[in-house]
């Protein structure tokens, strides 16, 4: 899980062009939206693309979004639970 969280931080910085941040700047439990990293609705769409591109996971129910994308840790938990068997 720790490796996945680290990978996710790097991918988020790259996908969202957060070039002023390093992976160390993003806490595992830090909220990604509003009071945390301050991401917006376009960033949310980019995170959905990220899951599909890197992990082949489609978010079927948009209402699950706030839970899945609450933090890097919740994203990692969702990926672990939904990634397809190799």
């Amino acid at each position: 899980m720790e490796n996945l969280i680290q990978d996710l931080k790097i991918q988020i910085i790259d996908q969202l062009n957060l070039q002023d941040l390093t992976p160390q700047d993003i806490g595992d439990d830090q909220p990604l939206f509003v009071e945390g990293l301050g991401l917006d609705s376009i960033d949310a769409l980019e995170l959905i693309v990220l899951l599909q591109q890197h992990y082949d996971i489609k978010v079927a129910n948009p209402e699950d979004g706030p839970k899945i994308f609450h933090s890097v840790k919740t994203m990692a938990e969702y990926i672990t639970a939904h990634k397809k068997a190799a």
């Binding site: 062009n17 957060l18 070039q19 002023d20 376009i42 980019e46 693309v49």
Partner: protein, 212 residues
């Protein structure tokens, strides 16, 4: 009579304000030049990194132009306007977006596939809430744009207007912005199209690309 209070020109790897060089980076391509300029000018605005090159260019030109100018002291937000023009519209980003669409269309690129988004970014940053327009022209039509801004000021549709030309296509980039208002400050010039033509100089040849 209206006045031109400051002007800024970005082209040929150089940023100038009122004729003085602010930043220069001879080796850089468009993206690197804009990023290096942002860092050198010590601006703290993380959203800059997410912008496309057209918005980055407009943003940096507006930052340079308005450095040292208090817009709230000049006019209420509703009376601050911006009127820009360019040749390539948002084509530079449209092409990049199309490339991503071959696999996963990028939402963050899609939002920049309109030329007037550059005006939106400047308005958000500097809290401009007045008239805003982007024209797409073959060339920088200085007499037309000067007249348009004069009309806005004359009928009190705006008290101060940022005007000019902001254009990007691959490694061709150019921004020429000026601030026009009723205010006659110590170093102001007349807001006159012949004076603007002199300040602007010769047009960049970037849009004479035979491939276009």
């Amino acid at each position: 009579m209206h006045y031109l209070n400051n002007w800024c020109h970005i082209r040929h790897q150089k940023i100038t304000k009122n004729g003085q060089t602010i930043f220069e980076d001879e080796q850089a391509d468009t993206g690197t030049f804009l990023l290096n300029a942002y860092k050198q000018l010590a601006i703290d605005y993380p959203k800059f990194y997410k912008m496309d090159n057209l918005c980055k260019l407009a943003f940096l030109a507006a930052e340079t132009l308005l450095d040292g100018t208090s817009l709230p002291a000049l006019a209420p937000a509703e009376d601050l306007g911006i009127v820009l023009a360019n040749h390539y519209s948002s084509l530079d980003t449209d092409i990049h977006y199309l490339e991503t669409a071959q696999s996963f269309p990028s939402p963050s690129l899609f939002v920049y596939t309109l030329a007037n988004v550059m005006v939106g970014e400047v308005c958000i940053r500097h809290k401009l809430k007045g008239e805003n327009t982007v024209f797409i022209f073959d060339n920088y039509e200085i007499p037309f744009l000067c007249g348009y801004i004069d009309d806005l000021l004359a009928i009190n549709a705006a008290s101060a207007v940022i005007g000019g030309w902001v254009d990007v296509m691959e490694n061709h980039y150019e921004a020429f912005l000026y601030l026009a208002s009723h205010l006659n400050t110590e170093n102001s010039l007349f807001h006159d199209h012949k004076i603007i033509e002199t300040l602007y100089g010769k047009p960049d040849t970037g849009f004479e690309n035979p491939d276009h």
